[in-house]
């Protein structure tokens, strides 16, 4: 009798454990991004934090279609095969109705294939390679800019600022090579002299090449570093140590998102002053009424300034919730239709997805992604206080030389 009873209790407990999973009361949204090496885990972590914040807020406002939403996040480690596996797990095991996120273009490239095959909406938050939207898959959307879209604006600044000799150091990843091509093609047509070098992502010592640039005649007037992670920070530090840039002769542009993190200053210190970088968000420009409150909540919760990667991750989750609301269901095709009609007031403007098929990368791409060139003018300056140089209509000043 006792045995029977305990068996019964066990069964009930097992049932109890599985119940919430089967319950119809939860809508699961998948998240993907790098949380461990070799991925850029610092950015992945930040994106995950922002997604969690979005989920909390949606649930706080009563959820979607009367149900709670939940985030299931998979670490994709910066490895395409992990991205494929993560997508499959999210959709098939966790029954995620849509997936958002990703930071690495190479991984996103693998993930869009799965989204297309399993017919699940995927909003790429922070992977920039043109090809991601250029494949024009029905289920793939992007709120991060496409490389060509964003960097042609940066290239416009380089041309407008009057640089004549530009040297580039590029990480040999999909992202790096993609950016390098856009910039190089744009500058070439403007008659700017370019020297371009590629390097392993794991490189720690750039001094040999930087020294060479320093000794070349004429000295380059812009060093353009297309690196992410530790490599970017080391390049900034070493360029300053050997007296190459930022100097009177040579300015330095570091494009990686790491230049926006507060840890940038711990590593670069004095070397970070006068560094140029890009951002998809700049405060003081009144994008929408949601911007300020988001930043306040993020800072309060995580004790750090969000970068635009965090904003994109946050927005991506909100976009999914919004699409479900308007579609009235989690049917993938209905969601895609709803997403295509999106007019969502995000953190940096009203988000919509283009249906243009030319240029190729424009399909399901948010064309309005803002891009800014900023320059640090003080050590330990938060990027939100940096000098805004570009676009011209918002500019607070022009390039400062040390």
């Amino acid at each position: 009798m006792k045995k029977c009873f305990s068996l019964l209790v066990c069964c009930l407990m097992a049932l109890g454990l599985t119940l919430p999973v089967n319950a119809k009361g939860i809508i699961k949204i998948g998240g993907v991004g790098p949380l461990s090496a070799p991925g850029s885990f610092e950015s992945g972590k930040e994106m995950k934090m922002a997604m969690e914040q979005a989920i909390d807020e949606i649930n706080g406002a009563g959820g979607v279609l009367g149900k709670k939403v939940a985030l299931v996040f998979e670490d994709t480690q910066g490895l395409p095969e992990k991205g494929t596996a993560a997508m499959e797990r999210l959709v098939e095991k966790h029954k995620a109705v849509a997936v958002v996120g990703e930071f690495h273009s190479s991984v996103a490239k693998a993930e869009i294939e799965v989204a297309n095959r399993l017919k699940v909406p995927l909003i790429i938050a922070e992977a920039w390679a043109d090809v991601i939207t250029a494949k024009q898959y029905k289920y793939v959307f992007r709120i991060a800019p496409a490389n060509s879209l964003f960097y042609s604006k940066i290239a416009d600044w380089i041309k407008a600022a009057g640089f004549k000799t530009v040297v580039m150091i590029t990480e040999n990843s999909d992202y790096g090579i993609g950016v390098e091509r856009v910039i190089r093609e744009q500058l070439k047509t403007a008659g700017i002299k370019i020297t371009s070098i590629t390097a392993e992502r794991t490189i720690q010592d750039f001094t040999p090449q930087l020294l060479r640039f320093k000794m070349s005649k004429p000295r380059p007037d812009l060093l353009f570093g297309i690196f992410t992670g530790a490599g970017e920070l080391l390049m900034v530090k070493q360029a300053h140590e050997i007296g190459l840039a930022p100097t009177k002769e040579t300015a330095m542009f570091a494009v990686g998102t790491d230049a926006l993190h507060k840890e940038f200053w711990e590593i670069t210190g004095q070397s970070g002053k006068y560094i140029l970088t890009k951002t998809g968000y700049y405060p003081g420009i009144k994008f929408t009424e949601k911007t300020e409150p988001f930043i306040k909540r993020f800072k309060k919760k995580f004790n750090r300034e969000p970068t635009f990667a965090a904003m994109e991750a946050y927005e991506a989750v909100c976009l999914v919730a919004d699409a479900i609301k308007r579609a009235g269901s989690t049917d993938p095709d209905a969601m895609v239709t709803a997403l295509e009609k999106t007019r969502f007031t995000g953190l940096r403007g009203v988000i919509r997805f283009s249906l243009d098929r030319e240029p190729k990368y424009m399909y399901h791409q948010w064309p309005g992604t803002p891009s800014f060139v900023i320059q640090y003018t003080q050590v330990d300056q938060p990027y939100t206080d940096a000098l805004l140089l570009w676009p011209k209509e918002y500019s607070h000043g022009s390039l400062i030389k040390p």
Binding site: T195, I197, R212, I267
Partner: protein, 300 residues
Amino acid sequence: MTEYLILQALNGLIIGLIYALMALGLTLIFSVLKIVNFAHGELYMLGAYFSYYLAKMFGFPPVLAVLSSIIIVFFLGVVIEVLFLRPVYTGAVERKDEYAILITFGLSIFLQNLALFVFGPWTRRSPSFVSGTTSFCSLSISNDRLVVSALAIVFMVATLIIIGRTFIGKGLRAVSQDREAAAIAGINPFKMNLLAFGAGSALAAAGGALIGPIFLIFPTMGAMPVIKSFVIIVLGGMGSIKGCIIASLILGEAESLGSVLFPDLTRGLAYKNAIGLLFLVVVLLLKPTGLFGEKHVRMK
């Protein structure tokens, strides 16, 4: 151009010295315990983090932070040896080689993820030993690099003196050459294992703690240097201390000069890591036991 090459050679020397510290630790562990420590890169990483936190949170002066970190990791190495590696020598496990590989490899993954969890994913940098740069002629080099190479030389010489001159050093060498014969001479091989693993870990930590202000500190920072160390100990001849130091300096120089003398200048950095491996392949083709290797060693 000459000045440039001189400075580049100097840079190669500095990198080579850091490699040497790490590879020396790996060699010490390999010679005495006859196992390859796959977790060596993580001990290097821990050395860097401990030194960073001691300096940042407890306000230790940089050099003291480095020394304290080395001591902490020494004891950490001792604990690892007792907990995980002792079974190899007490006969508690059957397939010793495989066990040693799996346990150190597992430890490497564990420590890396633990660091990611405890220290967080953001890159750190230890405070400078001496900030600023020193110029000579038209070129300049950061003071940190100069201090680091001086300290690296000090640590290396100290290690060589301990191994070469002291009774403990003789005990370590005796065990590395013939475990049983050393035991017959009254040397406790377990104690030597403990010391070797501790000292080997401490050397890795020294490398990491010194590199902290020059390169950066992050949970996976040991992954590349440990591969370099494997290349070095194979290049130098497994277990040879002289070979290990010379191979480190050669590798540092080959990478440094190789990447600037590479025919296609724009690809030099992209092939930097390949240069060392290419060098290894050539040496092994000509001398399969490495530069100073006596014979192939295998655990009995």
